[in-house]
Amino acid sequence: MLNTTTRLKLFIMSFFDLASNVSTTKLVYGNTRFIGFSRMPSALKTLQFYFSKRLSGEINREILKDASSLSEYLHNNVSFSNTDYWQTCIDHDGPVLLVTPHYGPFAVGCLKACLDFNGIRHVNTFYDPPEKNQSTVTYKDVLSALGYNFTPIFNDRKGLISAIKALRNNEALTMMPDVFEISSQTIYVPFFDHLTCAMTGTAFLARKSSALIAHAYVRHVNFGNIMIDIEKPYLMPVSENAELDIYNQTSVFIASLEKQLRRHPEHWMYLPNLPSRLTSAFSKNSHEIEGKIHSLSIALNLHQGKKI
């Protein structure tokens, strides 16, 4: 899809990006250090952040320009870290939920799903409508570039019903766990030893549909190919306590994202914003937790007059 000259040009431009976007460069470098990388790897990953962004943007532009060789590209240049896991998703009888954040060329990952699931199950992608989030303006055109097996579903009340229907029809649905807003669906879950906002919608859909869940992270490798890091597919554990199930499952989604970022943070679109996504550090010690429950419930006027 991108020839060697284009890739080389984008690589060189990444150096200019590194030098000219001083504040972003500092943020990305600082956040990579925060994640746990030492100085030299952090500097390298900062450069890779810009390169990954440029490559992803250029691939999307190429897809929109000319998609005639897209299926060949997806077949030859996009592979999975574990083909057995992907085969499990293909062979699964019921619905499939692909959990993939704003990471690398995620659109290519969705297109790969459309290609491989063709004739087996329809692929739906759940995202914010462009009126709500301008960055999704090109999503529909890019994701439907193959011309088959794809339906966009917008993140609104009508969209939620469509998502449930799609999963009931044993179709595939892609969800992005790294998007949040403050609503009754918002909870705090652990993320890099702090708490972060997360939405319970994905876990809600998983529980309702008993879909097979697979975490997938799409990234550039080998100066031109794309690797989809896929984790072992699983079914969400279900108990009688729906709230707890949904909380635990949402924690699992974010824990998976954290694990991927500890290996390859450079492809995550929100890497510069990492600190703003973290609230307080959390305690693991049970005595401290009880103390925090006590003081917070007093502060919120929920205390019942005795130490709980």
Binding site: S184, L195, L244, L296, A299, L302
Partner: protein, 206 residues
């Protein structure tokens, strides 16, 4: 005599402090984290200690320096008022300090000839009126003071409380995960309160 000086933390400069410290025998700065304890002439006290001092009715020339943005407040205990079409929240602690002491309030001025503070008597001004004047003065001080004014908004308090609530929800869920059931009723209350707080932020969030 006890007076109250309303001063945003960002404006607590040596210049203003000099003008305050020379007027009183004791100058207390109300802070729960002791960060001002090393500033000359200021005695850093916690909110709890302040209440003790007020209740002890010790006489003598003293002043309490209060940064309203650091006064702990909750939605259920705050007093709301509207200023410039925006809803603000006054901490009950602030009302206690001014109301109980019947204190004269000092508010810093940007431009002045001789007196750097606007002096408001408790006999003539209610806490709400004093707060309105304080917000008006903050507008004249520039960006950082205006940022301080934003921290006093009611919707900011709602978000702070939501943060506390979500944190509490997290810990309660952690306990449930460990099989501890004694917090189940509290969790139900948390979820109810969460719904009403989200409602306060606007219908679209509910």
């Amino acid at each position: 005599m006890s007076d109250v000086l309303l001063m945003p933390r960002s404006l607590l400069t040596p210049f203003f402090l000099k003008n305050v410290v020379c007027r009183y025998k004791k100058v207390f700065y109300i802070s729960d984290n002791n960060d001002m304890s090393k500033v000359n002439g200021l005695i850093a006290v916690s909110a709890k200690k302040t209440v003790e001092i007020i209740r002890s009715e010790i006489t003598g020339s003293q002043c309490f320096v209060v940064s309203p943005e650091y006064c702990f407040t909750t939605l259920t205990s705050c007093q709301e008022f509207i200023y410039d079409n925006v809803k603000y929240a006054i901490s009950p602690f602030f009302e206690l300090v001014i109301g109980h002491l019947k204190a004269t309030t000092l508010i810093p001025r940007v431009n002045y000839e001789s007196e750097p503070f606007e002096i408001l008597s408790a006999d003539e001004y209610s806490p709400t009126e004093i707060f309105r004047i304080y917000l008006r003065r903050l507008e004249q001080f520039g960006d950082s003071a205006q940022h301080t004014a934003r921290l006093l908004r009611h919707d900011v308090l709602v978000k702070k409380e939501l943060h506390r609530l979500l944190t509490l929800q997290f810990y309660l869920m952690s306990m449930q995960n460990c099989g501890v059931t004694e917090y189940d009723i509290l969790l139900i209350k948390v979820l109810e309160q969460k719904k009403s707080l989200i409602g306060l932020l606007g219908d679209k969030h509910a």
